[in-house]
Symmetry: C3
Subunit: 128 residues, 3 copies
């Protein structure tokens, strides 16, 4: 039950924002082995100059960064996370987002930290 | 000192958004035993199609999901969290939000991870 | 590689919002000993009444709260965090933000939870 936050420049057309969200979902399904229907995402369109990233820190060449935040249950090892990051970046690249412009950050919680709606809560797994 | 984030469709009138925030605060006070004045909330109104949730994953029937994120100190057990989720959903339901349309995610930190303003910081508890 | 989120009233002019972001970056560089180029920030302008804070909880006198969220690798001790909070508040005060109106919350993750762009990822540190 990852919850994805996408912060994107409001100069990006709505259809493209939604395509980015599709790509992130598909990348996580591929990289994490996550169910493609396990999809909860919020897109925040923001003024381009409100998305701030150092252009070269750690060797990147950043120009118009797309921020992707992933809140998910602590259950994936580092290699799986890296695979997911690469899968997300590759799918975004197919939509024209330069891999240097993808910025992903993960935060982790536990299975008990989620309430996915009343009926979802009743059928949610009680452990991982 | 929970910090609450509410992501809501911008088609929901402002007065209703603020009522939702009241309801979330009251639900947390009830469910967590939190002080009702321990209130720090940020509401993000977003285009409805920027709030994405699978309609049926885990058995829910989601239509217009309201996202509620809770950042709070790690100090509550699973049963207390579940009680808080139910209290929030029940109070939102009284305002017309279907329980299936409530999505809550918790992230935890420590007491030392908060700065609640200069004077607040001076009087903040040093441990839980 | 902290990721900073600044939630600010949309009545604050854009130039001032960007100055706040500068101040937060400089405060973290000072307080955490962070590289000044290690800068990744997202500013969310929101209606003033969507930024909700109890005016007096814990002894503060809050009026127009600026919310600053810090997602960073778990590697700083409590004293360093407190020093960073003070440095951020002091620099914001120089821009006219009352220290009581600064609200900071930290969330922590690990080095492996970041993807700072394709080339950045390749040169990212593998441990702290």
């Amino acid at each position: 039950m990852p919850l994805i936050t996408i912060e994107v420049a409001d100069t990006v057309p709505v259809a493209k924002r939604l395509a980015y969200a599709d790509a992130v979902n598909e990348g996580l399904a591929e990289g994490l082995g996550m169910d493609i229907d396990d999809r909860f995402q919020v897109i925040h369109p923001l003024p381009a100059n409100h998305l701030i990233a150092d252009p070269h820190y750690l060797g990147g060449d950043r120009r118009n960064v797309l921020f992707v935040r992933i809140l998910m249950v602590k259950m994936y090892d580092d290699a799986t996370k890296a695979k997911a990051f690469d899968a997300v970046a590759r799918r975004l690249e197919a939509l024209g987002v330069r891999p240097d412009d993808v910025f992903i950050a993960v935060t982790e919680n536990t299975v008990k930290d989620w309430y996915p709606g009343a009926r979802g809560a009743r059928s949610a797994p009680t452990d991982v």
